[in-house]
């Protein structure tokens, strides 16, 4: 599995878990507008789970600027 697809699939597992949507499909283009229950507090939960999963810690300014799954992917890649 290439690295990018691996990140997406791990993110998808996190989104499913944190939003309690077992069949959710996400793509880099997914935004809070098209994912049920993805509000600002959900972002904080998702980021906490991403930090645990990828053993990283992000800055408040980065978290604040998340507008899509793609933003998360580039934060993880940075």
């Amino acid at each position: 599995m290439d690295k990018h697809a691996d990140v997406i699939s791990r993110l998808q597992a996190i989104f499913r878990e944190e939003l309690d949507l077992p069949n959710l499909q996400i793509s880099p283009q997914s935004t809070p507008d098209d994912v049920d229950g993805w509000d600002s507090l959900a972002t904080i939960r998702i980021v906490a789970a991403v930090e645990r999963e990828f053993d990283r810690e992000f800055e408040a300014a980065q978290i604040e600027s998340i507008r899509s799954v793609a933003d998360l992917i580039s934060m993880i890649a940075a």
């Binding site: 077992p22 600002s40 507090l41 904080i44 939960r45 408040a60 978290i63 604040e64």
Partner: protein, 630 residues
């Protein structure tokens, strides 16, 4: 799951986690059982979701106390909602939460007045943190400090009045923890008007007010100190979303808040039931003897058991009823309790002693009947994980703290749970424990717990039976030297004797290990038998009392009879030689279906079992021997 914060709660197993994701239908009992574990916010959210999905036919009671909580917060609190609902299940409540946030409570009470009225809360939580008050330092100015603090307390009093006049409901106040944004130095304790001084004054004023108003106080300051203020706060989350404390602390906060709320609905713990062996003291009194118990100064373990007793005594002074439930020979255990010079607890501190060989679930049920106190007011403290699991399984309403392996680590874990939270303290509380002193009111014959069989099944036990060997020799000799209670003949053999028996073709030797869902219990039994002309003659049969009541003797006999058949023998014979310590097995052979064939002066009895007439007892234990599984 992040690292455990509430070590008194068991961790969820893999199958618990699976169940929390999939549980459907109307199984509230399963949900309540799951909620007894420690979950992170995600796990509690899942439980809340499962609860919301439960559809009960109209009028069918849930068995849960319905409680509506209004939480007013000057910071962000919405993320606490499902954490609180999931935690409510742990305490037998179906909590409905309305959260009004992000403003001063005075504003919220006006802004959201209509929706609060239609929500109709049973209890109001004033979740105000230090940011609601600012408490900007007035360093060196004692007068200003007093004025700032009393303004804050007056403000809380005014909010209280407004809640009382609008809703007439009890209020939970919160003490303040320091704002990490202000200067905090060692010298601040010496400077009137420092931030630390102001927070201390507000907390003192608030406590005085709540003491007189009869409301509840959630001591957030204490909670944050317990885990460390640097762990309590998260500057990043405050900056991002105005979280009053780090989100990973939400389950801990909820546990303490919900326990407090439960008090208002008559749910309080008032009874502490203590085990004796390896709990009240170190060691097993029936095997080791009173003089060899670890209790008192001189060893870390002995001191830890003393500290545990001191803790129990302190609880008794706070009105908690103490009971003892122990699998022991009553006279032996009571003698140690009464006469061991290092005992901190005295006999009159204990309301009821239940010392017998019956399972503890039956004993707790009996204690509840004797004291007329519901099982949901009980806390059960026992070093043995199997006993703890049995109580959790059979009597889920009893609080059963998990304990670290190391007894020196018990007290902080137990104390952190705050099991015995109350709304206040009165003279009657102080004297309550003595009302329950039930001299000689020991329940007579107890019926074994009805679900014992289910419980044993759930243990998934396997008995590993092997002949003596070089590896086991030391431990076998140790058991032969030490076992006094479950020991039919109490014949003592040295390690050399054990080696000789191992090599003797006319002898059958057995060393037994028992494993179950909790792991390996180690070597728990030894049998030595002679192969006679027409029978197997049991010379030695002993077992560790830790695994009493699990069906091990029955499994052992099934194996022995099968062995007798293989050898073409018609009988299994055994003798019972009484000692001061082995009364518990006086009827061992009778209970297993042996016939009495002889009695000698001194109480020695001889027994015989016919192999042809024997029906396998088949307890719920898999037997695995050198030959294979049966």
């Amino acid at each position: 799951m992040t690292k455990p914060m509430m070590r008194w709660l068991p961790q969820p197993t893999t199958s618990d986690i699976e169940l929390s994701r999939s549980l459907g239908g109307s199984n509230i009992a399963d949900l309540v059982r799951l909620a007894q574990c420690e979950w992170d916010a995600g796990g509690l959210r899942r439980l809340a979701t499962r609860l919301a999905g439960i559809q009960l036919p109209d009028g069918q009671p849930t068995g849960l106390q319905a409680v509506r909580v209004l939480l007013l917060s000057n910071s962000t609190a919405r993320h606490l909602k499902e954490t609180l609902i999931g935690t409510g299940l742990r305490h037998g409540m179906r909590v409905d939460v309305m959260i009004s946030e992000y403003e001063d409570p005075e504003v919220l009470l006006v802004r959201d007045y209509d929706s609060i009225v239609s929500f109709n809360p049973d209890i109001v939580v004033l979740a105000m943190d230090v940011h609601a008050f600012g408490l900007r330092p007035a360093a060196g100015n004692a007068e200003a400090a007093a004025a700032i603090a009393s303004r804050a307390v007056d403000r809380l009093r005014a909010i209280r009045e407004s809640v009382r006049s609008s809703f007439k409901k009890p209020v939970v106040f919160q003490t303040l923890t320091l704002d990490p944004g202000h200067v905090r130095l060692h010298v601040d304790r010496l400077i009137p008007g420092s931030h630390a001084d102001l927070v201390g004054r507000v907390n003192a004023g608030l406590s005085d007010f709540v003491r007189s108003s009869g409301d509840l106080l959630l001591d957030v300051a204490m909670l944050s100190e317990r885990i460390g203020q640097d762990n309590w706060n998260s500057a990043r989350h405050w900056a991002l979303a105005k979280y009053p404390f780090a989100p990973e602390n939400a389950p801990l906060y909820a546990e303490h808040l919900v326990r407090l709320v439960a008090l208002k609905f008559g749910k309080s713990r008032r009874v502490l039931v203590l085990d004796l062996d390896n709990t009240m003291w170190g060691g097993i009194v029936g095997d080791d003897g009173k003089e060899n118990l670890l209790l008192g100064p001189g060893s870390p373990v002995g001191e830890a058991h003393c500290a545990l007793q001191a803790m129990a005594k302190e609880l008794r002074d706070r009105g908690i009823v103490l009971c003892v439930s122990s699998k022991n020979e009553e006279s032996v255990a009571l003698d140690a309790f009464r006469t061991h010079p290092e005992m901190v607890l005295a006999e009159e501190d204990i309301a009821v002693f239940q010392i017998n060989w019956t399972d503890k679930a039956a004993n707790l049920q009996a204690l509840s009947d004797i004291l007329s106190l519901g099982l949901d007011s009980f806390v059960f403290l026992d070093d043995n994980p199997a006993e703890r699991a049995q109580i959790r399984f059979a009597l889920p309403q009893v609080a059963v703290p998990e304990l670290p392996k190391d007894v020196t680590e018990w007290i902080p874990v137990f104390q952190s749970a705050c099991y015995f939270e109350t709304t206040g303290f009165t003279v009657e509380d102080r004297d309550r424990a003595s009302y329950y002193r039930a001299d000689a009111r020991r329940a007579a014959q107890l019926k074994s717990f009805a679900r014992q069989e289910d419980y044993l099944q759930s243990l998934d036990m396997e008995l590993l039976v092997n002949p003596f060997d070089a590896i086991g020799r030391k431990r076998i000799a140790q058991l032969i030297a030490k076992s006094n209670q479950f020991n039919l003949t109490t014949r003592r053999y040295s390690e050399a004797d054990v080696a000789a028996a191992e090599a003797d073709p006319r002898r059958i030797t057995l060393q037994m290990r028992l494993s179950d869902v909790f792991g390996d219990n180690g070597m728990i039994g030894v049998v030595i038998a002679d192969i006679g002309a027409d029978a197997i003659e049991i010379d030695t049969w002993l077992m560790s009392c830790r695994v009493l009541g699990r069906g091990v003797p029955e499994a052992t006999l099934d194996w022995l009879v099968a062995r007798a058949r293989d050898l073409g023998k018609g009988f299994v014979r055994g003798v019972y030689i009484p000692t001061k310590k082995n009364m518990m097995v006086a009827d061992h052979y009778r209970n297993l279906g042996f016939e009495l064939t002889g009695e000698r002066p001194g109480g020695e009895t001889a027994w015989e079992l016919s192999v042809d007439a024997y029906r396998d007892k088949k307890p719920p234990i898999r037997i695995r021997d050198a030959v294979g599984a049966h």
